[in-house]
Amino acid sequence: MREVAQLLNDMLRAGVIGNYAMFGAVAQMRYTQPVATLDADVLVSPPAMQDINVLDPICHFCRSRGYNPEGEAILVGDWPVQFIPAFSRLTEEAIDRAETGEIGGLPLRVVRADYLAAIALSVGRAKDFARVLSLLEADAVSSNDIERLCARHDLLSQWQQFCRRFLDA
């Protein structure tokens, strides 16, 4: 993961991306027990005043560093890395308000637990619900935090449905 952190920070310095934050299972593991995952997901935003297509410059930059595509991802050391452009106001905010962790002495930006839960609710697959439950169980986030964030991002009905299915005993 140190190689991933190095690459992302270099990409940021070179202006290839405007910002980034790890999300998905890699981000979840900052707050919960380790979980099995095939790849590392990174939310990316384009540099200001630039083309909305951020993926082509990313692929080009990775190739120039000797990292090549493997299916939908780019293999960086041990990790297939999947770059996902911010796809909603929620994910844009998740990047802006990300925390900075440390891997092998390098900074690595990571989505906060409350945003991770709200993004998972917005996607709504079984594994996303499991992620929200893990974050709650690890006390990484409170129900109130999630509810507040969901209210701001038009996700209250998804949150209430989740509560009925999984939390209301």
């Binding site: 593991m29 027990q33 440390e102 092998g104 690890a138």
Partner: protein, 54 residues
């Protein structure tokens, strides 16, 4: 007879402790898990020999 409830409580405490490991350590564990999963899905040499024609 096993005290199942006590055992599950001990297990829960142990699992919570794993959540407190450093992020870097947990990511290394995830890589090991992924390699183990791949190894499980690869056919063994013994099975490969059986698949050979003739």
């Amino acid at each position: 007879m096993l005290d199942l409830r006590a055992m599950l409580e001990r297990q829960a405490v142990w699992q919570r402790k794993r959540a407190n490991l450093p992020w870097e350590t947990k990511l290394r564990m995830a890589v090991i898990l992924r390699h183990a999963q791949r190894a499980l899905h690869q056919p063994s040499k013994k099975n490969k020999r059986r698949e050979l024609p003739g």
